[in-house]
Amino acid sequence: MGAPVTIPLLVNLFLNGLVLGTLFFLIASGLSLIFGLMSVLNLAHAGLFTWGAYVGLAVFNATGSLPLALVAGAAAGAALGAVMEVGFIRPLYGNHTFQILLTLGLFLVLNELLQLVWGPSLISFGVPAWARTTISILGMPFATYRLVVLLLGGAVFAAVYVILGRSRLGIVVRAGVGNAEMVQALGVNIQRVFTVVFVLGGALAALGGAAAGPFFRVVWPQMGAEVQLAAFIVVVIGGLGSVTGSAVGSLLVGLSQAFVGYFFPAGALIVNVGLMALVLLIRPQGLFAPGR
């Protein structure tokens, strides 16, 4: 590694890890809720991340506005999430084998469609000037865009946490994670709740993709697939159906990826899988109980 280990380097790795963690969180939270509530292991979920990135790039190129790109990416994810639930997954609740085949197929289809529109090679994301700047905090330079992603992730977590904790929808979702049939027997149209969760989960994953483009400064068709594994590790570590668990797990996995990836590039995945194995051994249900 030649380069000396300096405080700014460590701080930067830390920040990088947090940003990666934020991206993982945006995918994993939806994945976790969808699994917790509907017992669907949605292998197509990360496809929405990629779509969010490409739609975000297209809208950014058309308008020059990053906020608009993020909103458009999220909206695309919401729409795709709705189509996926209503059109494909709904008839297969309870049938795990078919669900896995179906969502894997959907993942491939999403990917092929994306390449039909934008082609197979990577496309660079020419971020606006402000996003390339750094701001200095306590005398250390921080990349502005990374701070923006962190704030965004924090805001999303807070919003999801409050919605799950306080709103009628959130209470129903948490109840449904425990016992969906009983929720239905109490007079709630759980089918509609399922759709809403797919829509919100899709929006978050795609928002993650849209936010990832300017971070990596490039988008590519496999970017979703590459974060999917990390997201699954996060879900297992955090606990299925727990958004707080997803947040904590994401930061753990993001940080370990950043640090281990820098000092032992070959070891990043091994360390994360090892982390997951450790959690499975000690606390198979994950660090956090389902619910919030």
């Binding site: 948490r174 109840a175 425990g178 239905q184 027997a185 007079g187 089918q191």
Partner: protein
């Protein structure tokens, strides 16, 4: 007096769980304002009968009518919203939610809970005391009370209550009996109950289900006197105490 109104009619019901033909002809009437007790041995199909009324099992043949309206093909939440409350055998408590949130999930129309929580908490002071506690931390008896309280959140026409005394100590069985009497004041009740004393105490009429078929129905007093009936369909013998418990019967 004439004929009592039939609130619920179950006619030649056949129900399936996956490929298994569980109910093979269940028929009975439930009169408005009464408590109808569903009796039968373990595995007879009592729970499946209640679940079928609520649309939770697949119905092959037969008819279920609530106030003349056929419920076949309706979805569970739609049936619930017609004013059908359910206290399931396993209590169906949301263990990760607080006591109060368990009640909130049940609220079918905004304002119901606020309007009725006073009465609920008067009846179940423990639930008030522990309203912010996770329901999974409650005792079995308290969870049963919560399951009953949950149906009191909304006005109901019909309550389906599945073995509320199951697994409870005798003192708690009495509390459950009192709670049931309270909810029965404003709704018609279908009660599955193996505890014959409680059944006789609470019930107006009975229906016996055996091996997936309804085999008899009548006024509750009839079964209290008929040891033959008890032995054949309920497995009650003098030794296991069924008869001794029966002097509790009101009629």
């Amino acid at each position: 007096m004439g004929w009592a109104t039939l609130l619920l009619q179950v006619l030649e019901l056949h129900a399936y769980i996956r490929q298994y033909h569980i109910l093979q002809g269940v028929s009975f009437d439930v009169r408005e304002g009464e408590v109808t007790v569903v009796l039968g041995r373990n595995g007879a199909g009592k729970t499946t009968t209640l679940r079928s009324v609520l649309g939770l099992t697949r119905i092959g043949r037969g008819e279920i009518r609530l106030d003349g309206l056929s419920l076949v093909g309706w979805r569970p939440h739609e049936i619930a919203r017609l004013g059908v409350g359910y206290v399931p055998e396993d209590r169906g408590i949301f263990t990760q939610l607080t006591v109060e949130e368990n009640l909130q999930v049940a609220e079918r129309n905004r304002g119901n809970l606020r309007q009725r929580s006073g009465r609920i908490f008067d009846l179940f002071p423990d639930l008030y005391r522990f309203r912010h506690r996770r329901a999974g931390l409650l005792s079995g008896g308290q969870q049963q009370m919560l399951a009953i309280a949950r149906v009191m959140v909304n006005p109901n026409r019909l309550l389906l209550v599945d073995e509320p005394s199951k697994g409870l100590a005798p003192i708690l069985v009495r509390n459950v009996g009192e709670a049931l009497r309270e909810v029965a004041r404003e709704a018609t009740v279908v009660l599955v109950e193996q505890n014959l004393a409680l059944a006789a105490h609470a019930g107006d009429r009975y229906v016996i289900i055996d091996d997936g078929r309804s085999v008899r129905e009548g006024p509750m007093a009839e079964i209290a006197m008929d040891r033959q009936l008890q032995r054949v369909y309920l497995g009650v013998t003098e030794r296991n105490g069924g008869l001794r418990a029966l002097p509790w019967a009101r009629r």
